[in-house]
């Protein structure tokens, strides 16, 4: 709840770095601020101010305020550009994403959560996945590749790569097998990681996901989890310990980290030349949230014939794709798409043929812009790009 962040809220100096930092790569900081009217309450400083107003009982959660609270992408670009650090904990002092999340928790508790988010939360609670589909699909995937349910190395597919873009799950499994990793898979015992519910304030549902997944992962004997999804990766690695109030008894590895390590050890060689100019979009949950910037780039650069070109705003200054871990896309679809268009415009400016990322949600969101505007750009997620380069 918000009270937990009182200390932090009162330490924002309102300098406006979260609003208007400007240099060669950062430009303006908040995608929401840039794609709305530009009122302060849409940027970090203003969001912190509204949190302070709530803490001081100056106003309550009106419909208009709830709308503002739920259009934050929690992309943490404001936190990153602010850069102030709590000297006692070493953590970011002004973590707007987490403060917004705490406000959302209070909104949920008041029963005022936007309907679309409540509905998604209900679906996750009942069906254990974001798309309300049968977990049998995950079971089928395990059968298709004859994957055991227990083992030291566990593939965590997440919802997107099974229900939305099955090719991603196929590609990831093929890559792991091709590179000699003996993987297990939980099948229908793998529930949604809970990322969306965590960030939209439905923490109760998220906790159910966490404790179930922790139980089945531990039962599987996994010492390592490998996932192609940035959302699952950051959630399990960084947020699960917060929920269970303990360290994880296993390692969490993003597919890009796994492949990067193989490259370092000389155990990965791409056979096929792709001859493409590729630009890489940093997913917020892999980049700013988890600090993984270079590994995906190393993998992309290692593919023969691929030229990696950077978007102007990259790494810790990268703009969000607009999805806001699905929440903003659900609550404010037009705003989300406007943000996506501006990100895709940046990709276009690089002259790349292909936009890639290491998050299925980002790729889907970016592709939406490409399709809507009939752009001559391919949107290929990292597993597919790698699978193509491996010729599998």
């Amino acid at each position: 709840m918000l009270e937990k962040y009182r200390y932090n809220v009162y330490r924002c100096t309102r300098c406006g770095v979260c609003r208007a930092k400007y240099n060669e790569t950062v430009h303006y900081v908040c995608p929401v601020l840039e794609n709305t009217a530009g009122f302060d309450h849409y940027c970090g400083r203003g969001r912190i101010a509204t949190a302070k107003g709530i803490l001081e009982d100056r106003f309550t959660y009106s419909d208009a305020l709830i709308d503002v609270v739920y259009c934050c992408l929690c992309c943490e670009n404001c936190r990153e550009q602010c850069g102030s650090v709590d000297l006692e904990t070493g953590k970011p002092l002004i973590d707007t994403g987490r403060i917004v999340r705490a406000m959302r928790e209070e909104i949920v508790k008041l029963g005022k959560c936007p309907k679309v988010m409540s509905e998604i939360s209900r679906v996750v609670s009942e069906e254990k996945n974001t798309f309300g589909m049968s977990l049998e699909k995950k079971k089928d995937l395990a059968r298709k590749y004859n994957l055991p349910s227990a083992g030291e190395s566990l593939f965590f597919s997440g919802c997107y790569s099974v229900f939305r873009n099955p090719k991603e799950a196929d590609d990831t499994i093929k890559i792991l097998k091709n590179t000699g990793e003996e993987i297990a898979y939980l099948g229908d015992e793998e529930w949604c990681c809970g990322v969306m519910q965590y960030w939209d304030g439905n923490t109760g549902v998220m906790r159910d996901m966490v404790f179930h997944n922790m139980e089945v992962i531990e039962k599987s004997g996994a010492k390592k989890i490998i996932t192609p999804c940035a959302g699952c990766y950051d959630t399990i690695k960084d947020i699960y310990p917060e929920i269970i109030e303990d360290d994880l008894p296993f390692e969490v590895v993003h597919l890009s980290e796994y492949l990067s390590d193989l490259l370092d050890d000389g155990k990965l060689k791409f056979e096929k030349e792709l001859n493409k100019t590729v630009t890489y979009h940093d997913p917020c949950h892999l980049g700013r949230h988890a600090g993984v910037y270079e590994q995906p780039r190393k993998v992309i650069k290692a593919i023969p014939g691929v030229e990696l070109v950077e978007m102007e705003r990259n790494r810790n200054a990268a703009f969000c794709c607009g999805s806001g871990i699905g929440s903003v896309r659900a609550t404010h679809p037009e705003l989300a798409l406007d943000i996506t268009h501006s990100r895709v415009d940046e990709a276009l400016a690089t002259g790349a043929h292909v936009v890639t990322s290491a998050c299925p949600m980002c790729v889907e969101q970016l592709e939406l812009s490409g399709k809507k505007r009939k752009l001559d750009l391919e949107f290929i997620n990292l597993p597919e790009l790698v699978a193509n380069a491996l010729g599998i």
């Binding site: 300098c15 609003r19 060669e24 009122f39 203003g46």
Partner: protein, 483 residues
Amino acid sequence: MDASKKHYFLYDELAAIVGTKFVTDEGFALWSVSHDSSPFPGKASGIIVLPGTVEEVSEVLKLANITKTPVIPRGGGASLFGFPTGVPGRNILIQLTRLNKLVEINKENMTVTAQAGITTGELSTKVWEEGFHIHTVHTPLYTDTIGGLLTGAGGGGFPMEAASAGCIWPYVLGFEVVLPDGSIIKTGAGSGTNTFREKTFDRVFSAPDITGMFIGDGGIFGIKTEVTMQILPRPDVIETGGFIFKKMEDLWASMSSLMNIEPLPYSRIYGIGPEGFNARTGKTGNDWGLLYGVLGYSQEEVGLKIEAIERICRKLGGRGLPDGYEEILTDLDQIDPKSYREMGKRSSMGMWAFMEEFASKEGFLEYYKTTRDYTDNVFKKERLEEYGCKRFDLIIPFGHTSVYLGNNIFYDQGSPELREKLLEIVKEHTIFVTKLGASMDVHQGFAAEVMASYWSPTFYNFMHVLKRAIDPNNILCPGLWKL
């Protein structure tokens, strides 16, 4: 949106001017822009409007003038003495951040024209990218808008090279300003001033220097929507260095001697008291520091200037910075404005209580001792050390004639009790130094109120007449400067 909500009394009219999207009177929205970067209490307006064109600004002011509604302009929102009061709850807060375009860089005339809502960070970076340098703030206020800076700071604010270049005002060539009745004028012989002079900018040849009237006016005479400024060739070389002094007297002797040289040998220079020096170096002791940066167009030019600085400082008791002190020079060694952007990351929790003012070079040593003793006493009396507060004395020579002095206190603003305490300390300090003959550089909020308190009756009357002539209904920042 709640259709039954009772709106601000001019909501529909303002929405008709700027569009519904760009106007709000939601309580949380008003609250989120009610504070600046100081401990001064917030002042909520009645409505916020974000005009997108100068014509929209004009229409808003016409409406405000007819209805006698107070208007407060806002740029980056990071002023340091509280916003102008106006009439809380009734003010139209006119936020200029949508007017943020760079209009033109004229390389031949070496001028830049930009809308007032552009941030100084963006302005300086874009000018730099074109091979030029502009005297505007780079840090830490690069989030300020150029219009806000030229309005709310004495002399238009201080560039990084304030020690040698002075305030920003000499580099301002002209404004586009919307007057309280909504009329739009151009000052400085811009195209709106003289039909036959599209490209010539100067402030004094076609008319009196009316541009100057709008610099540091706090926003009482008009709303700036565009500014034209002088740009300079981009310097290529920067060298930094520093000296340690055992006594403040020696540091000041060096500094005042350096101030007598023409042209000034440094671009940036400041002295810091032992508390700040120790905090920055991680050392202990009672040393005073003098740190400088020299910008130039060749190594030879910079070398000659450094030679002059070193000769004087060594002669007057200065010792070169020992190894391990290099970090302290990082503020000064930046040549490219974009590198300043990372400086904020060195900040930690807390906030500065800005107790800064201009004092005369003549008698400065005595003045400084008086204010230092005053701050020492405040520290003891208010037991500020127990609250974890820290001192940071800053002495910046300002041209040949004056000195910018900061007796700043770094405090943890998370404590409401301490916030209140610091607020009172800042207020009392402002009154104390003003009575000693110093001037405040912030032309907003409480600082402007104190300064105006000490205007002579004749000067106050002159300002009153001027204000009423330009703004008969007193709609722009009413109450600022006690007008």
